[in-house]
């Protein structure tokens, strides 16, 4: 749905986006992750035909952004970093205005305005001036204007920035619920957001693409292996954990088993593999040996660690600086 190839944007003094390429498949919800100043907004502005790339190309729904800007714009719903709202307009009136701009009219326009008001829970402030709305409502009105023309692609620039935790949750749920109808690219510099909302993640740093993968794979990749946590208990007396270790190491594909400690009769192990293994095999091997299997789950590490590893790998923080700052050795 979105194809980006070697996209580059140079400003007078710096290169904001440097030869990045990625693809977003139809119906996916993809996180565009990077620290502040990474070039997220710049990339999104090129995708939405707000400004042309210096070089490289991007296409939306098979249409090149430079060759067919008018058609591309019809396929895109865009929520910029600051929602583009007119404080002197009432919510309903504003949505009608945006709908007209996007080419809707008559009964269809009215139907869509009703629909997005309902969908984004802004129906109760329909007649209120936008200037008088709370931040959370404004963000939802911003989302409502982005989907007014039922676009194939939604591009959301930091949709939860500046909201309080409750509003963030509401907005996230709303975005997730929109995923069925639209392909969504959303940018953020907050990691948990990607983990909670997205299926895929594209990480950029200083204008360069760092990684693009599914959230799941990326978490695994940083580990360099797939791993699961296993919690085992013995039915008769205390558990000999070295026996369990030996038993688990024999399961096909397992490369390493770590003992993680015991707690009220349960012992935890971390089972690692270079490639992959069947969790069923692990479970069977425990049960067959006469132990109880209490828990078996993937050992997900937070995306934060992945992110830090990926973005920090090039430049190591100077040690001296840390020492000078009085960090105890």
């Amino acid at each position: 749905m979105i194809i980006v190839e070697e996209l580059t944007k140079r400003y007078a003094r710096n290169t904001a986006v440097d030869h990045i390429s990625f693809r977003v498949e139809k119906g996916q919800i993809v996180g565009f992750l990077g620290p502040n100043g990474a070039g997220k907004t710049t990339t999104m502005r090129m995708l939405t035909c707000f400004m042309p790339p210096t070089s490289g190309s991007a296409s939306i729904a098979g249409l090149d952004v430079l060759e067919h800007p008018m058609k591309v714009k019809k396929h895109i719903g865009y929520l910029p970093e600051t929602p583009p709202l007119y404080p002197e307009m009432a919510t309903g009136e504003y949505l009608q205005f945006v709908g007209r701009l996007k080419g809707l009219s008559g009964g269809e326009l009215k139907k869509r305005v009703d629909y997005v008001c309902e969908r984004c829970s802004v129906a109760d402030v329909r007649h209120k001036l936008i200037g008088k709305l709370s931040k959370g409502y404004r963000q939802r009105v911003g989302l409502a204007q982005a989907i007014i023309h039922n676009p194939d692609v939604l591009i959301l620039d930091e949709p939860t920035a500046g909201l309080d935790p409750k509003q963030i949750n509401e907005t996230r749920d709303l975005i997730k619920s929109l995923a069925g109808d639209h392909t969504i690219l959303l940018s953020t510099h907050i990691l948990p957001e990607v983990e909670q909302t997205c299926q895929q993640v594209i990480i950029i740093n200083k204008g360069k693409l760092v990684a693009t993968d599914s959230v799941q794979n990326l978490q695994n990749r940083a580990r360099g292996a797939v791993s699961v946590l296993v919690e085992v208990a013995s039915r008769s007396g205390p558990l000999d954990f070295s026996m369990v270790q030996k038993q688990l190491e024999q399961v096909a594909g397992v490369s390493r088993v770590l003992y993680r400690g015991s707690n009220s009769g349960f012992s935890s192990f971390e089972v690692e593999s270079e490639k992959s293994f069947s969790r069923g095999d692990v479970a069977r091997s425990i049960v067959n040996a006469g132990w109880d299997l209490n828990e078996l789950r993937p050992a997900a590490i937070s995306l934060e660690e992945v992110f830090l590893q990926l973005t920090k790998s090039e430049e190591k923080p100077p040690l001296e600086a840390a020492e000078l700052a009085g960090v105890p050795a």
Binding site: P52, M70, P84, L85, E88, R100, G103
Partner: protein, 255 residues
Amino acid sequence: MKNALTIYRKELRSYFVSPIAYLLLLMFALIFGFFFWNSLGYFVFIGMESQMRGQPMPMNINEQIIRPLLSNISVVGLFFIPMITMRLFAEEKRSGTIELLVTSPVRDIEVILGKWLAACSLYASMLLVTFLNFGFLFKYGNPDWKPLLIGYLGLLLQAGALLAVGTFISTLTKNQIIAGAATFAICLLLWVVGWVGDYETAMWATVLSYMSVVTHFESFAKGVLDTKDAVFYVALIFLGLFFTARSMESLRWRS
């Protein structure tokens, strides 16, 4: 052009939901009224005086009231133009709504025309209110209405040209105060350059005084529709809107 109409309606609405439109209407009507009743009073005074001297001179409402009045108003208009155009683009740039306009399937020229026409409409409604004064003249006197209409056409053309220039200047900054001040400076400049023609006849002075938006109004004030002057205003309108379009385009390359 449906999109231009959408923009036009939005702009006009935002003029009239804020106090600015009413303030402009009121101020313009007051200033116009002052000039009108002032010159009317003077007219009546001259008339009485000449009668008392027993040698009635030919009195002409068009020549003695309408013409100087329209000339004055064409200058007063210069002070109102910046207040009409300053926020047109500057405010959209400041608040970020320009991103909505530019990423919607709407051509730049439609946005520009919508905004400029809304500005023209506000000015036209200011002129319309002043028409009330003339109702009085037509009731008690017998002025010729054709020159009056031509004079108003001239006012509208002159304003259209300056509004196009103001619209352009509004695309150059995020700050509407700066846009307003710059537009005001340009409006004044386009007025005073005409003064050099009063004492200097060299080539450069002729060119400069040709640039004056007020000089070109003189024929309209007389009630004469001079193609040369009309063409000047129309050309300035095109120039202003053309530069606005270029500026909007370059805004994307820079921002």
